[in-house]
Amino acid sequence: MIQENEALMFVLGVGVLIFVLGNHWRLRRLPASRILLAAFYVLLAGWVLTILEGFFWQELLNTLEHMCYTGSSVLMAIWCWKVFGKKEGWQ
């Protein structure tokens, strides 16, 4: 079953994705933008999986969903380290 909050989250996520794709060349100017965008894309994938688990393969997709969240968190941590952890990261 699809939940309302999950559907809303997906819709908003797609909106952000459109924003990201529309401003892709600008966002590429951000430091370590590939990692940051990857974190977003992985998180977006988790939100898709959340919706999909309501229809089939609940256990598997739920596990993948959480793995996406964790992967997104790890990528964020890496991005933070590259940007703020290095002395000259934020130039």
Binding site: M9, N23, L30, L43, W47, Y69, T70, S73, V74, M76
Partner: protein
Amino acid sequence: MSPVGIVDLVGFLAILTALAIVWRGWKRALERDAKSLLAGLLALTLFHSFSNTLEWSGITKALDPLEDNIQVLAPMLWGFFFYAFLQTVEITERKRAEEEVKRRNQEMAALNAIATTMIQSALDLDEVLQRIANGLVEGIGCNTALIFLLDEKEGVLKGSALSTKAKTLERINAIIGVPVVQLKIPARSDFNEALSNALDGRMTIKHDLYELAGPLLSKPVCSALRRLLVSKTFLSVPLQVRGKMVGGIFASTREELGEGDTETIMTFANQAAIAIENARLYEESQRRLREMNSLLEVSRNVTSTLELDEVLRRVIDTAIATIGPAEKGTLHLLDEEGDRLVVRASVGFSPETIGMAHLKPGEGYTGWVFAQRQPLIVGDVKADTRTKPIDLPEVHEEKSALCVPLVVRDRTIGTLTLDNVTRYDAFVPEHLDLLSIFASQATIAIENARLYEAVQQELTERKRAEAALKEYSERLEEMVDERTQELRDAQEKLMRQEKLAVLGQLAGGVAHELRNPLGAISNAAYFLNMVLEEPQPEVKEALEIMKKELGTSERIISSLLDFARTKVPTQREVDVNDLVADALPHADEMENVEVMWQLEEALPVLLADPDQLVRVFGNLMLNAAQAMPNGGRLTITTEFVEGGTVRDPQSATRIQVSDTGVGIPEENLDKLFEPLFTTKAKGIGLGLALVKTLVEANGGSIEVESEVGKGSTFTVRLQST
């Protein structure tokens, strides 16, 4: 814990790590105006950790409605995060760009100040070069800067100024082996990449010094220099003015160079090149000014005299003194015939060489210069095909020469040649230009001196001609006077002769006609004296008077007849002293007269008519006695006089009859020898006329000197045989 829980835990730990990293970087991030970025990031991260923590800790179900609502915010937070992040980056970049512009403006202002100082305050080339080097070190931030200047004549770049922060100059020199400012780089594009770029007006930046300085400097030298200078970047920058390379900059920096830095350095280099060009132009103008002053001084020196030989000597001396490399020199002038160049002045050559150095136009490089009317630099005298072979050691010594024509009013009058005996190619085009200018001045001076000499010569000739004309005029006057006098004399002589002829004819007729009556009277008187034995005293006195006057009449008639019948002299050898002695009148006619004889012995024998001369001397002595009625002294002098004096131009026997009588007034002297002129009461004025006639008939002359009251002297000159 379920596998999903473990995964969530990992994600939770990752979030914590991210928070820790952000916390550490918080302060730096704040300094960079990243507040909005961090705010969004923290919100996002907290949300992640919150949602993950809920499921991992098992309290998800208790907070389930809240969690669901919070999760809905996740995409919104991401969108806000991206937006805020972009804004922050753009703001930061804009600020950074503004700061960069500000920094660049400050740098350019500083650079402009340095360049202005370089260009305006310094005109000495060495000082400008040093300021450029110092500007690169102090203003641009280089730690070493070396300036090279292009020497077009030698075709090399020469090290000219060095500036370095470190106290390493001596060590740099020691590593290179020569003072760094004495380095020379061939200005060829094939020397190395940096030089090729520089010649094309491009900057070269290298991290390896050898790539920039090799093969001028070896690899070990480059490595040692790099260690010494502690530099990351080495660069060469061309110095160009109007697209023409005037030199180059070699510099090193401790830091990497950004694009702005290279632009700054190029701008600085352009300013520096202008400053160098200005300094060079100023130096050139100063050099030209010095040359012009020198030429002015030289011209004054050369033109301060008008004596041609002195001008020529000064020209050659001054040319050698003015043209640095010149050691010897010759000045050829075209001779009057116009077919030979003659050495008129020289320095450093023997007379023997000068004698052989006369040339025909077109002969030798000097003749070539004369014929072509073009200045010439001979870099190697021996190798030049125009050189005239002269087999003299001192000529063989010459290695290079400089020759210019002397042209005045489109006419070549000679050449000026300077020689150097120590090196080939001693003269350069600047010397040629200078000598050409000098030669034009010298030519004017020479021409002036020649004109002056010609004028002087013409003046001298004119004076001489005037003197000759004047002399001729005077002589002509004298000749006219002489001829006039001769004509007058001839006329007088002719008139006198005519007069004498008429007079003689008349006198002869009269004398002939009177002689018969007088003879009858004389006979009658003689008869009366005979027949009257005792005549009365009055009768006797009358008879005596008659006798005396008849004698006087007889003498007058004889004189008239002598005068009228002057015979052609019968010349024979005579002794003048004897004739003079024979001519002394009778004693009764010399009453109260003292006679003094001053006769020179051994007079030369004369060829003359003795009877006529006796009559001459007798008449002169009688006249002298008659001039001394109260007595006096009669002096008869004979002597031989040598000729050659004004008074006696020819050798002659001179007979003088002097008296101490009454003298003759000056106005009568000219008329004294004219017939019928007399001052005596008794006389008809034929005596002295007869004397003159007889003397001249015997080839002599007579003249008289007299002073009234003191006496008179008659001088007769007779030519010796």
